[in-house]
């Protein structure tokens, strides 16, 4: 099979198109590149959807945690503590078995045991908690002067929040939020190692990388390929978030701009 044929057969293998059977022996470099790249589709799917919905929910949570009323503050605090204080790996396991139990109670939960839905919910809740903590920190450090200026201009309530507090909060939180987004993409690799079954061997990039490593006993080819893809993905995330960062900072004098510092990635 030439490389072009391999790409045709396996490029969308991870979402169920193309060749049914995975290669079993004599793995070529092309096959490894194509299949691991195909698996990246899952990582991107999990990452993007969880980030979009997580962003919205995180804003709500951050505001709730900042509120003076304990009825809204306490649940938000507990939610954030629950998801930030325990390993994502255990959360995946727990959620999967929880969905299994629920499934036996009601057919409503049938689709939840599939990775595409169940794991996405866990990732969404998890990133919401982490992002909420970042946004909350930023909300607490909105400069006092800005608020006083808003008061002086007669801004109150929603107008003050929409025009002063929220943009400043975003601007302060953005560098850390970029890191959170990178983490989240890395965290998506845990999905198929934590209970959620891969249906018809349709898995993510790490799933295929470890498939090749198991079959060939040679970790020195598939894992660097995986690393290559993830570095590419990380660079894309950084440049996209960098664009937003520039937009958020466009009114700030050059010298004061918060530089985007990309910190190390850690497991959660």
């Amino acid at each position: 099979m030439s490389c072009l044929e391999t790409i045709q057969a396996y490029a969308f293998r991870s979402i169920g198109f193309g060749e049914r059977l995975l290669p079993r022996s004599d793995f070529t470099l092309c096959e490894q590149f194509t299949l691991i790249g195909s698996g990246m589709l899952w990582n991107i799917y999990f990452g993007i959807i969880a980030i979009i919905f997580g962003f919205i929910f995180a804003n709500v949570l951050a505001l709730a945690k900042n509120s003076a009323n304990p009825v809204t503050r306490k649940p938000a605090e507990w939610f954030i503590f629950l998801f930030r204080g325990s390993p994502l790996f255990i959360q995946f396991f727990f959620a999967y078995f929880l969905f299994l139990q629920l499934k036996s109670l009601s057919p409503l939960f049938d689709s939840f045991t599939a990775a595409a839905v169940g794991a996405l919910i866990v990732l969404f809740l998890n990133t919401s908690a982490y992002s909420a903590e970042i946004f909350y920190g930023a909300l607490r450090s909105v400069p006092k002067n800005d608020m006083e200026a808003a008061d002086a201009y007669g801004l109150t309530g929603m107008a003050k929040f929409r025009r002063i507090v929220w943009p400043t909060m975003m601007r302060l939180a953005w560098p850390s939020y970029t890191n959170e987004a990178i983490f989240l993409f890395h965290a998506t690799t845990l999905v198929f190692f934590s209970g959620f079954p891969s249906w018809r061997q349709q898995g993510d990039a790490l799933y295929y990388a470890s498939y090749f490593a198991d079959k060939t006993f040679n970790p020195f080819v598939p894992y660097p390929i995986l690393a290559f893809y993830f570095i590419l993905l990380t660079l894309c995330v950084i440049s996209l978030f960098g664009m937003v960062n520039r937009r958020l900072n466009r009114h700030v004098p050059q010298a004061q701009r918060r530089r985007m510092r990309i910190r190390m990635n850690l497991i959660r």
Partner: protein
């Protein structure tokens, strides 16, 4: 365990549960919590040593050593860590066997990689195929510890490198003015002062290390995740005295609570250490302590 546990089928309620939770397998489950703590106890100092080594190497005036240090720190960025865990365990295992193979069987003519196989001569196998089971387990565990130490060492090196840069230059210049050699400056000025700058990063790292311990499961160690899956699964009355349905959810809930408690306790201890290390430092926190004393 208890005297009334001889016939579990007649037991009810709490007494059934007390017998169920003290079976031999559950004891192994409880011991595996010890495995996690042992892993943390060994990995944390080892990773700190790796980190210190990496940071010192990155600051070295000799270019190649500095490159090695910087490369070590940089290599863990941008790649999911779980990939590192899966990679290092096989890579380390094969590396060790390959070295032993080179030393012990110099006249082996065949190539080591034959198609999909990794073949070394019998006496180079690690551990030897004749060795008892516990040697295999200890070897697997030490590989896991080494992997954790390498990955977290790189994170720690990043934190410590930043902390060393954060120590005020004036302090080091004063040391030089007093005639201290570079080595003395490092030991007496840089190293003691660095900790208060490194602590926020290191305490964050400790939290992350705690939350990374379930990954032991992926490295093939019989840890708490392994036992929770094993014990929680549906048990048929034919094979066990304590039949039950699918209880894995409850086992993982217990693990979740264990980790939540662990991180909470760590948080409290670390905040006390932060206060202790801020004493007498020229930082905001140190200043606040000085004022509070009056």
């Amino acid at each position: 365990m208890f005297s009334y546990c001889t016939d579990p089928s007649v037991l009810e309620g709490v007494s059934w549960l007390s017998c169920y939770l003290t079976t031999g397998k559950h004891m192994a489950f409880y011991v595996s919590f010890g495995t996690v703590l042992l892993l943390l106890a060994i990995t944390a100092p080892t990773a700190l040593l790796f980190g210190l080594g990496g940071a010192v190497a990155a600051r070295a005036p000799i270019a190649p050593i500095s490159w090695i240090g910087r490369g070590y720190i940089a290599i863990v960025r941008g790649v999911p860590d779980i990939a590192f865990f899966l990679f290092f365990v096989i890579a380390l295992d094969q590396g060790i066997e390959w070295l032993r193979h080179k030393v012990k069987c110099p006249d082996w003519s065949e190539s080591i990689r034959q198609g999909s196989d990794f073949l070394v001569c019998d006496i180079a196998k690690m551990p030897l195929s004749s060795s008892p089971q516990w040697v295999h387990e200890v070897y697997g565990f030490s590989l896991a510890v080494l992997t954790f130490a390498i990955v977290f060492g790189a994170f720690a090196a990043n934190v410590i490198y930043g902390a060393m840069q954060a120590v005020p230059r004036a302090q080091l210049e004063t040391a030089a003015a007093y005639g201290l050699t570079p080595r003395q400056t490092f030991r007496r000025i840089l190293l003691p002062q660095m900790w208060s700058y490194a602590l926020p990063g290191l305490s964050n790292l400790w939290m992350v290390l705690i939350k990374a311990t379930p990954l032991l499961f992926l490295l093939g160690v019989e840890d708490i995740v392994y036992w929770a899956r094993e014990l929680g699964g549906t048990k048929n009355a034919r094979f066990t005295d304590y039949p039950h349905g699918d209880w894995r959810m409850w086992y993982f809930l217990a693990l979740l609570i264990f980790y939540l408690g662990f991180t909470k306790v760590s948080e409290m201890v670390l905040s006390r250490i932060t206060v202790r290390l801020s004493r007498g430092q020229a930082t905001v926190a140190g200043e606040a302590l000085r004022k509070a004393k009056g």
